[in-house]
Assembly symmetry: C2
């Protein structure tokens, strides 16, 4: 029995859209009716900013909104769900969501995009050991990826704080040129991110995780030179299909 | 009070995705939280093919599935809704949905993409009187657009039956090269559609409605030479924003 996919899509809305597109792209299909059932709830004005919470700029934990939206998705029929937002996977947010789901006896299976990403690297790129990360400053400060990667036996490579705050974070958030404002055509943001890629490679990275779901919008490459570029949104799309109906998961190209 | 948008997204799934993207693109926003709440239900395996019903290949009226999905969206909180599928607007389908919504006293406002499209042409392109239509054979046989356009005082221009069935419909539906299979990168489908555009122009069309929501995926142009190209998905995205919160509707570029 094919399971129904739920997507918490508002964090941010373009990342939610990107996940929905990647679910379609990664599904084996010849006709409309072959595609999986996907319920997407994009409710960004009810989903407080994740980075602001992690940096202490607000006390409102977005976990409560994420939990509410997961409950809505479950009531609408979703069996499995995910949120395409790396920052939302920081322990103070993600664990709070899991606790709240547990407390109400939710039966939705809430996938962990970051755990899926580390597992994907292990399976698909066993030769890569030094993993770079580009992310929001929220994800950066929370040390989410370095923690996960080190626990899995990898070396984590991150930008220095100046590059992180002056170049990488604004590429995502700047109200003039950031990806959250401009979307896919964020040329200046792309340049900044490519500088980040270059910096991480100089520091020995062999693969780079695009650790904010806005980044792949402006940086869609799978390889940059010798570097493997890892897109957690793509990994998550494949994990959702695998859980919904593994027979429909397109082989990796 | 901002209204919540519901999308019946599985007809087809790529057209649903395209509508969601156009809603984002047409919304005035600087940050995630500025975007509207959108609930999308893409359940293609519960949404029988519209063209097959209109052509008599199946007795199952997709109206029942569309109604059920609208009910689900309403229960999830949607105030206004639409289905980005031209063929679903044929009277035997669309009127049946409206009747069923009326019978249960639904309070969802179900927009009519085709009526919005004719109204858009009148407002934005008052100099255009002869309107060509590219569509599925279901929409073609049902005469949906010609009927609407003539009632509004326009001349409707359609391909001859051979071109329609041998070139235009397969560009959408062919299991090898059709847009429903290949998505945006449907090169052969695009060539076929451009032949259709050319044919309609030869017959005097001054504007062309892309009367199947898959077509704009492969034919994103707003103008082809002197021809205005009308994308009902874009018109629908703007109509949904207008109904949800007119202050957030981006001015036409």
């Amino acid at each position: 029995m094919e399971k129904i996919i739920g997507v918490v899509g508002g964090a941010g809305p373009f990342a939610g859209l990107d996940l929905l597109g990647k679910i379609l792209d990664q599904t084996i299909s010849e006709r409309d009716q072959d595609h999986l059932t996907v319920i997407s709830l994009s409710q960004p004005n009810q989903l407080p900013d994740r980075t602001r919470f992690l940096l202490g700029a607000t006390a409102v934990n977005p976990a409560h909104a994420i939990f509410n939206q997961l409950q809505q998705l479950e009531r609408a029929g979703a069996d499995i769900a995910a949120i395409p937002c790396n920052t939302a996977h920081a322990a103070p947010i993600f664990n709070c969501v899991l606790e709240k789901l547990g407390a109400v006896g939710s039966r939705i299976r809430f996938l962990n995009m970051l755990a899926e990403t580390v597992s994907y690297i292990r399976q698909q790129h066993p030769d890569r050991q030094r993993i770079g990360i580009l992310s929001t400053t929220g994800t950066y400060q929370a040390g989410i990826y370095p923690h996960l990667l080190k626990a899995a036996g990898y070396a984590a490579v991150i930008p220095d704080l100046h590059l992180q705050t002056e170049l990488i974070h604004p590429a995502i958030y700047d109200p003039q040129y950031g990806i959250k404002t401009v979307g896919k055509n964020a040329v200046r943001a792309r340049d900044a991110l490519l500088q980040g890629v270059n910096d991480l490679q100089q520091k020995g990275a062999e693969a780079i995780i695009l650790g904010c779901t806005e980044i792949p919008l402006a940086l869609p490459e799978k390889w940059i030179g010798d570097l493997v570029i890892i897109d957690p949104t793509l990994v998550l799309a494949r994990a959702l299909i695998r859980e919904a109906n593994p027979d429909k998961l397109r082989p990796l190209s």
